[in-house]
Symmetry: C2
Subunit: 386 residues, 2 copies
């Protein structure tokens, strides 16, 4: 088969101390400090064979994530920008849907022909966090498209326990192709859902919700907020194209944060009461969180989804005076998140299909990732079967 393979040179930065674990496993904990001179190309890769509990999927759609973009972009010394767990060479791609085409001998819950979407986090189910019910914090994590072969490819083998059926979505749309496209949005939507409803504990119907940054995660957050009965939804986004998408999925007000004072805008919209639920999906908390602090409702919540290796100058007095709190979120596994996201789409409560702004063939996958660097699209899909 073919796959979009990233290769890079293991060349730790002079000031980075490689751990024994990294040396043994070949996995970099901080990718940006180790992987240099990345090379991205669509090339031949061995067909996957299913393990005993695995299924082989024929991949139908796979979204380009910000992390994929950060493999394409490099710093001044030609190290990848992505700062997380990685082992190369591997096939990229982790937001996907596919059709079951082969079963391992011990598979119990799926059959050939089933339509599924898949978690990206291959949590072990055995470490202390997994035993405590926190799979997003698994200490033996493998990640599809980061440390093991991903889904910008014709096929993938994956344990059935990470697969979630999307046949309900196909029934809703009466259109398998659309169901695969929308099904591929389940992973980023689940990242937003986990942050908002599992980590942040959600908001009450009628509450005012702000979303800072409307890339795909922020757009999913807007759609979820709308579906969950938010009062006013206000969004802040630099790209005019993304501002339009934000409106399309449910934002009532959308602003360019360079042209307004976001904290003041939110206080005006709420007639001085503040916003109840603030979603950080810009990955720029040093800029966005101080604005959220200015517009906290009593009992207000700030949920950090975007990633940034920057310290945020926080004024904890604001949390005290406003009875407020900050939650950190990562991941999408566990806590009924994937199945609830799929239910919402199947029930017609959540339709993020407008955010799909481009589709590419597998042979053009490098172009798809290059395009994502403009940061103006919603979700770009690669469709290996197209």
């Amino acid at each position: 088969m073919k796959g979009l393979v990233l290769d890079a040179v293991w060349d730790p930065k002079p000031d980075y101390e490689v751990s024994e674990w990294e040396r043994e496993t070949g996995k970099a904990i901080t990718g940006n400090s180790i992987w240099r001179h990345p090379k991205l190309e669509v090339r031949d890769w061995p067909d996957p064979k299913p393990g005993p509990k695995e299924v082989v999927l024929e991949i139908q759609a796979c979204g380009v994530c910000g992390s994929d973009m950060h493999f394409y972009e490099t710093d001044e010394d030609d190290y990848i920008l992505y700062p997380g767990l990685t082992r190369f060479p591997t096939i990229l791609g982790h937001e996907f849907s596919g059709k079951v085409v082969e079963l391992g001998p011990e598979v119990e819950t799926l059959k050939v022909g089933d339509m599924v979407t898949v978690e990206e986090m291959i949590w072990c189910g055995r470490c202390i966090p997994c035993r405590n019910g926190y799979p997003n914090h698994c200490t033996n994590l493998e990640e599809i498209g980061f440390t093991i072969p991903g889904a910008f490819a014709n096929y993938i083998a994956v344990d059935e326990k990470f697969c979630w059926k999307i046949d309900g979505i196909a029934e809703r749309f009466g259109d398998e192709e659309k169901a695969y496209e929308v099904g591929a949005l389940s992973e980023p939507t689940s990242v937003a859902y986990n942050a908002m409803f599992e980590r942040g504990g959600g908001f009450r119907p009628g509450h005012y919700v702000s979303v800072f940054g409307t890339g795909p995660i922020g757009l999913a957050a807007i759609g979820l907020a709308k579906a969950a009965g938010a009062g006013i939804i206000a969004a802040f986004e630099i790209s005019p194209q993304r501002r339009e998408l934000a409106k399309a999925v449910g934002a009532d007000y959308v602003y360019d944060p360079r042209e307004v004072n976001p904290g003041e805008v939110l206080m005006e919209l709420s007639k001085g009461e503040g916003f109840n639920f603030h979603v950080e999906a810009a990955g720029a908390p040093h800029l966005t969180v101080p604005e959220m602090e200015k517009a906290l409702a009593i009992n207000g919540k700030i949920v950090q989804i975007g990633r940034a290796a920057k310290r945020v100058p926080m004024y904890l007095e604001a949390l005290q005076v406003r009875r407020s709190q900050v939650f950190g979120a990562q991941g999408h596994s566990g806590h009924e998140t994937f199945p609830n996201v799929i239910r919402m789409v199947a029930a017609g409560r959540l339709d993020l299909s407008p955010i799909i702004t481009a589709r590419y063939k597998l042979d053009e996958a490098v172009d798809a990732i290059a395009r994502s660097t403009s940061r103006t699209d919603g979700k770009i899909l690669v469709k290996p079967n197209w």
Copy 2:
């Protein structure tokens, strides 16, 4: 009667914009920006008369709070250090207990002779936060000993709804005088309880708890953590006297934070798992919270009680990777807090009497406050009937 009266000159700092509300009410929102040349003395003050729903209490014990200390201490321009809501002249003192000696005509729940302790926050019960159940965020707040006459005095008149009976404490100790002393600790203990159990949502039995700063609030937090079944309790405190008190009320380990790296110590004590619940009671979050961030258990909580007008350089990634959260807390009213604190003492689950380190007569109240500036005591009491 006599009372410890603070008077000061209304002399707004040049860069402070006095609001219309401040001018109308005579209340400074930011006391440190307005009140200059404070003068503190025990002097005559009119006897209080009860309003229709008020009782008059003969005050038995009143604790010295850090805020009282910040009325005594001044900045280089002789402004009070206390940064909060204030109107002078008034009698100081707000952590107290007393005996009911007179009833207004509409009082229904108390009788002459009842032993009570009292909330400090005179919440209106009518504003939006009060209507929503958030009395600690009342927008029409009066504060005993800050904006209205306090309890470093012989008598005080107060609405019965702010009084909580402590007869159960007297029964436990078989000693009314001790019950009044311990009853006067209810207010600061309720500040810690509100932060830990109402705002922070508590911790599970067995969880590891850290307390940064062991003044009276931090000492109360330690006692509460012990009573609620914490696993290890570790505290950090500069004063050696206060470190001893921390041990006396339940800390398993106590350190001088200048002599160790607190984050590393907590990681060692927890064998690398981190602490589950961190209490900031030092009022120095710019120093303490970064240490807490280094030692977050998965699902860890940081609760900010101490007040400081400083920005904290927070690393929100730590909250994300550790599935963690930060809560801001203020106040002690509502949410069953006072009655639960009193129950714990009456049931013998919480005994903070060891933290009472000095007792003064009312005539010596200025000395009591002067002594508190050494920041080495537990709780200093003024006993007007002594």
